[in-house]
């Protein structure tokens, strides 16, 4: 089954206020789920990054501009709630959202199972960027441990959770026909 993610919500007319309200609610709900419930899906100490998944999916379905804005807000909120002193997520999340938006067009004619792989790949990229920042700002970093225990494991979890979310969305809102994305 070829999937055109941009077609999913094509019939829905967004007014500005509705869009702001929807995204604000979405970010608040996902942020709450992240801090309260995501550790239940954790393997060891590593949990899926639901905020990252949200930004990626917004990028894939709604385009770069919206993904960057959502990424900025989500990253900011994540940094406020996290123990990091650097604003890493504020920088990384919009970047990943932008890349997801750029990838939306090439995957239009690809099968649906490519989406979870793409999400895992974007999560891996995000993890490697954060690791790079860690290496720049700290000493005595065990790179192998971090890559194995945090970066790879998180991207795997993100891919799995992303698969569930993507197939749920495709089930609830089945794509109707193919359409070249023209944001």
């Amino acid at each position: 089954m070829g999937v055109d993610p941009t077609r999913l919500f094509a019939g829905f007319r967004w007014s500005g206020a509705v869009m702001v309200l929807t995204y604000a609610s979405l970010i608040c709900v996902v942020a709450s789920l992240q801090v309260v419930g995501s550790h239940r899906l954790a393997i060891g100490n590593t949990a899926p990054d639901l905020m990252l998944l949200m930004v990626c999916l917004v990028g894939l379905w709604r385009g770069q501009a919206e993904a960057v804005v959502v990424g900025l807000l989500a990253g900011f909120l994540q940094d406020v709630l996290s123990g990091g002193t650097l604003w890493v997520n504020l920088a990384v999340k919009p970047l990943i959202g932008m890349i997801a938006g750029m990838l939306a067009r090439p995957i239009i004619s690809m099968p649906a199972w490519i989406l979870p792989l793409l999400l895992a790949g974007l999560s891996l990229l995000s993890g490697l960027i954060v690791l790079l920042l860690f290496l720049v700002t700290r000493e005595d970093v065990d790179v192998v441990q971090i890559v194995l225990r945090t970066v790879v494991l998180q991207s795997t979890l993100d891919g799995l959770v992303g698969a569930v979310v993507v197939f749920f969305i495709l089930y609830v809102f089945p794509p109707q026909g193919r359409r070249i994305w023209n944001p």
Binding site: A31, V35, V36, S82, G83, V130, Q145, T150
Partner: protein, 291 residues
């Protein structure tokens, strides 16, 4: 025609009266043939009689059983509802008991701790995998400021990293960026407790000649201004000395289960007036002392 029929009927009536009278007058000793006949008749009648009686009993008991089953079904439904209600009640009571136990431990700790403290509920955990943090429901309005120590009755948890008006972020002992000055209780060797990549705590910079071994208890040294001296951090799990460094290091197992924390205690200050005792004993300390 009608006359002959009434005559026949009258004849039969007379014969019946005579027969009945004959039976009354019949000598009892000569009744043996009748008895034989009656025995055969009784034997014949016994079969349908038994069958009907059995059917009657079966029907009666069956009906009683059906009635009983109907009653039983109702009773079963009622008991199931009762059981469900009791299960819910039991779970609720268990939860309340567990909560009461936790609060009792916290209260007991507060009673023994001479420092001003505030109990905070854990409302969230780290939103990224890069740091080990907790979100607690106490903030600036409750007197919490950055850098304060956070503990439970089982030992040190971490320190307050960021403070907002109504909530705060606590950096756990297990975080890579955390550092607490500590001392090995038995040998009095000092070191620094830090988190590792795999989410454990490690005591670093232990003198190379230290006799530290697995099972030694590590407590706060009191050298920093966050924790009073002697608060539990953990137990030495394994000691190692890397070739590249002159110091020993030891991995620790914490007494507190960081994944199940529900309430923590924030130490609002650890400075005390002159002459006042400065020990904040934990539950494990006292149990080991036999107190």
């Amino acid at each position: 025609m009608r006359r002959s029929r009434s005559r026949t009927r009258r004849t039969w009536k007379i014969l019946l009266v005579l027969f009945l009278g004959g039976l009354l007058l019949f000598p009892w000793s000569a009744a043996e043939p009748l008895n034989v006949i009656s025995a055969s008749v009784a034997e014949i009648i016994r079969l349908p009689l038994t069958a009907i009686s059995l059917a009657d009993r079966t029907l009666t008991s069956g009906w009683a059983m059906v009635g009983g089953l109907i009653d039983l079904y109702g009773e079963n439904q009622q008991l199931q509802e009762e059981l469900l209600r009791l299960r819910v009640e039991r779970n609720s009571l268990k939860e309340m008991a567990a909560e009461a136990e936790r609060y009792r431990a916290v209260f007991e700790f507060q009673q023994h701790c001479p420092y001003p403290t505030v109990v905070a509920q854990v409302i969230g955990r780290n939103p990224t995998n890069w740091h080990r943090t907790l979100i607690i429901a106490k903030g600036r309005r409750d007197g919490v400021v950055e850098g304060l120590g956070v503990v439970t009755p089982l030992g040190v948890i971490g320190r307050v990293l960021k403070v907002h008006r109504t909530f705060s972020i606590v950096q756990l002992v297990l975080d890579r960026d955390n550092a607490i000055t500590a001392v090995v209780q038995r040998t009095r060797d000092e070191g620094i407790v830090q988190g590792t990549e795999d989410g454990r705590a490690t005591l670093k910079y232990i003198p190379p000649l230290s006799s530290i071994k697995a099972g030694d208890v590590v407590v706060t040294s009191g050298l920093d201004d966050r924790f009073p001296k002697g608060m539990l951090i953990g137990v030495v799990d394994q000691v190692e000395q890397k070739v590249a460094t002159p110091f020993k290091s030891a991995s620790l197992t914490s007494y507190a289960d960081f994944s199940r924390l529900e309430e923590v205690i924030v130490l609002l200050a650890i400075a005390l007036p002159e002459g006042q005792g400065a020990n904040c004993y934990t539950r494990v300390d006292r149990s080991e002392d036999g107190g």
